[in-house]
């Protein structure tokens, strides 16, 4: 059993209340621009900007090479400046946050075939006075086992985990030797502990990229705040069901208290201490919780990771500002200009969430 075009539409409609929308290219899923941006960022599905290499922001918003250190990688920042932030992307590609988007799943056998389809779609849309950039193509690679749907599964799992109060992220930074897990979920604030009610955005139950979309108009839309802290890791597969080796390796880092296998049709988790996110016979997402919480969390590793995550989140919030606003902010605090990455890191790590959010409120 595999996920094809039809199933993509059914799954998105059933699980997230998105509408199916009939278009000149066939049935699509209608999404508001923010949901669509997250969808494209996670799945790599591309806005139909050209027929050769259409645009996706996937991979744009990296901050650090590894977890628990502050070596910056080109992404949200470069050269001690804000670089590929959603706001900067918006300035060059206005269509990203203007008007609803339509997700069109397309099955194909080769890149050549897909590019011919892109070309044809663009012509049809232009003939019908529609903007191709409002269409996002979900790749369904029929030549690959499982149709190459891992990124789609990552999207399903992250959206599912958002409901449980996790801040979610895909392709999370750990380290070269520890690997790059497909997804992470961070429930590091609870209503009873250190969560600040800032009236602008709840820092839980969202994709970490959404923290950078406040300036662009993202509305707060999360549910009740989580009551239990947890950090989880997940690995998605659409063909092979073997994820245990990787998940065990991630758990061995001592950072995570639970691990999830993500597979559309797997019946039960490989190990009693793994959870499983899957689809039932009617394509409803469901999860099987781990039998027991993994007990190999190491206190020191966990503490260091949580401390780093709490700082890491601030970088996504800061990305709501422009470079001029960031420089001004820094100067007001430290009385001088940012001269290098070290300055920037020291500054951002020293800020309180409330402080950053108040700053964002001034520019929203």
């Amino acid at each position: 059993m595999t996920i094809g075009s039809k199933e993509v539409l059914i799954i998105l409609k059933k699980n997230f209340d998105f509408e199916v929308h009939e278009t000149v290219l066939g049935e699509t899923i209608l999404m508001d621009p923010f949901s669509a941006f997250i969808y494209s960022s996670v799945t790599g599905s591309s806005y139909l900007t050209n027929p050769v290499f259409p645009f996706s922001p996937k991979g744009s918003f990296k901050v650090f090479y590894n977890a628990c250190n502050y070596n910056m990688v080109t992404g949200l920042f470069e050269n001690a400046s804000l670089y590929r932030t959603p706001y900067n992307l918006y300035k060059k590609k206005k269509f990203l946050f203007e008007g609803n988007k339509k997700i069109l799943p397309v099955e194909f056998d080769s890149e050549d075939e897909l590019q011919r389809k892109y070309k044809n779609f663009i012509e049809i849309l232009k003939d019908n006075d529609e903007n191709p950039e409002n269409y996002i193509i979900q790749r369904v690679e029929t030549s690959k086992k499982g149709n190459g749907m891992e990124p789609f599964l990552e999207y399903l799992a992250t959206e599912y985990l958002k409901r449980e109060g996790y801040i979610v992220e895909t392709q999370i930074p750990l380290s070269h030797s520890e690997g790059i897990p497909d997804l992470g979920g961070y429930r590091i604030f609870t209503s009873e502990s250190d969560y600040e009610d800032n009236k602008l955005i709840d820092i839980y139950g969202l994709n970490i990229i959404e923290l950078s979309l406040i300036r662009l108009g993202l509305k707060n839309r999360t549910g009740p705040s989580p009551r239990e802290k947890s950090i989880l890791v997940g690995e998605a597969k659409s063909s092979t069901k073997n994820m245990a080796v990787q998940l065990d390796k991630y758990l061995e880092t001592g950072k995570f208290d639970r691990a999830y296998e993500i597979h559309p049709f797997k019946k039960s988790p490989s190990k009693s201490y793994f959870g499983l996110i899957r689809l039932d016979k009617s394509f409803n997402l469901e999860s099987i919780k781990p039998d027991k919480t993994f007990t190999h969390v190491r206190k020191e590793e966990r503490k260091t990771y949580v401390k780093w995550l709490k700082n890491y989140i601030k970088y996504f919030l800061i990305a709501n500002l422009t470079n001029d606003e960031l420089k001004k902010y820094y100067k007001e605090k430290f009385g001088e200009n940012i001269s290098n990455e070290e300055d920037l890191i020291k500054f951002i790590n020293s800020l309180e969430y409330e402080d950053i959010i108040n700053r964002i409120k001034k520019v929203v």
């Binding site: 290499f53 744009s60 990688v73 890149e111």
Partner: protein
């Protein structure tokens, strides 16, 4: 490619578009593996002399007839420029890992195209290895096409314009002059402009009619995929080959035996990098068993550390043995027995394959 390399592809599209005045772009997303196919089969890989080189990230072509030198098939798309892009410098790569993708664009150069190795760098940084300029410039002088080292996407745009304006030779000539200049300056600053000084500092021995380059490669480097030794060894191999383009070259791995080589030949038949190492013209992989007059204590030391990670005592032993070996090779007290070198047995050519199929 790493996901930051995917952003480089996006940058190519953002800066140059998907078509430049009739010159079209072939490029695939990160999830696709079609770049592994030959260009003549719709991919981004080039082959030459029965050898496939690494896949490229992008290729500009025109709608004209072209005969693929690898398959000898005629197709209706003529490739002009092939680019291998890497964000290695921005990921902190300062060492020989920078050479490891040099061969990806080399296949295109051997096919007579313009090959570009694109390595952008953060403003204010200067970590590009100058060796690459020499490798590219010398490859341009002996191969069929041109090999350009590039750090600025706008330069690719200028190259495309020069092709449309029919003045690409002048543009490329200037670029190669600048690469040569940077390389010569580096050689002067680092090695007093002397190849002998270079050789002494870079595990290289220059003989009258051949070159020896030695390294600590061992069997495990090639059987453990996480070590990426194949890529790095290929990069080092091309560095020596293009620094001494007219010379026969022995790539000496004294931690390996003939038996190891036979094992790797048998087990890495479909490995692109292994095939390049074993079949590149004028390059001979040489093991401890191909050396003559090696004192017993030296060969024992090499064999003691043959499978060990080079650290602590193993590293000390390696240094002591390789320093002595180098001295004796320079004095001709140890020599390479050319008749002992094992030729690669995976030499079924395309022509043979076609004949066999026929």
């Amino acid at each position: 490619m790493a996901s930051s390399d995917y952003l480089l592809k996006q940058e190519i599209i953002d800066e140059l578009g998907h078509e430049y005045d009739g010159i079209k772009l072939r490029i695939f997303p990160e999830t696709s593996d079609e770049d592994q196919k030959l260009f003549s089969n719709g991919g981004l890989t080039f082959g030459y002399n029965d050898l496939k080189y690494g896949s490229c990230d992008a290729c500009w072509y025109v709608e004209e007839e072209w005969k693929c030198p690898y398959t000898e098939d005629k197709i209706s798309k003529r490739p002009i420029i092939a680019v291998e892009a890497t964000d290695a410098l921005n990921r902190g790569s300062t060492g020989n890992a920078q050479y490891q993708r040099f061969h990806h664009a080399l296949g295109a150069v051997k096919n007579g195209l313009i090959g570009i190795y694109y390595l952008p760098e953060k403003e204010g940084q200067d970590n590009l290895r100058s060796e690459l300029y020499g490798m590219g410039a010398n490859a341009s002088s002996i191969e069929n096409g041109f090999y350009l080292i590039n750090q600025d996407i706008k330069e690719i745009k200028k190259l495309l314009k020069s092709i449309k304006d029919d003045c690409s030779e002048k543009f490329i000539g200037k670029k190669l002059d600048s690469m040569n200049e940077k390389f010569t300056k580096w050689l002067k600053e680092e090695y007093e402009g002397s190849w002998d000084t270079f050789a002494k500092k870079r595990s290289t021995i220059i003989k009258d009619d051949y070159i020896i380059k030695y390294s600590a490669r061992n069997k495990r480097n090639f059987t453990d995929s996480s070590q990426r030794a194949g890529h790095i060894a290929v990069g080092e191999m091309y560095l020596t080959k293009y620094f001494f383009p007219d010379q026969k070259f022995y790539y000496l791995w004294p931690r390996m035996t003939k038996e190891d080589l036979v094992y790797l030949d048998e087990n890495k038949k479909n490995d692109k990098e292994w095939n390049l190492l074993r079949r590149e013209e004028n390059v001979n992989i040489t093991t401890i068993d191909d050396l003559r007059n090696v004192p017993q204590d030296i060969s024992t030391k090499f064999m003691d550390v043959k499978s060990k990670p080079l650290k602590g005592d193993a590293l000390k032993k390696w240094y002591s043995a390789k320093n002595k070996m180098e001295e004796l090779l320079r004095n001709n007290e140890i020599y390479i027995d050319q008749d002992s070198i094992i030729e690669y047995n995976n030499k079924e050519t395309n022509k043979q394959k076609r004949l066999n199929n026929f």
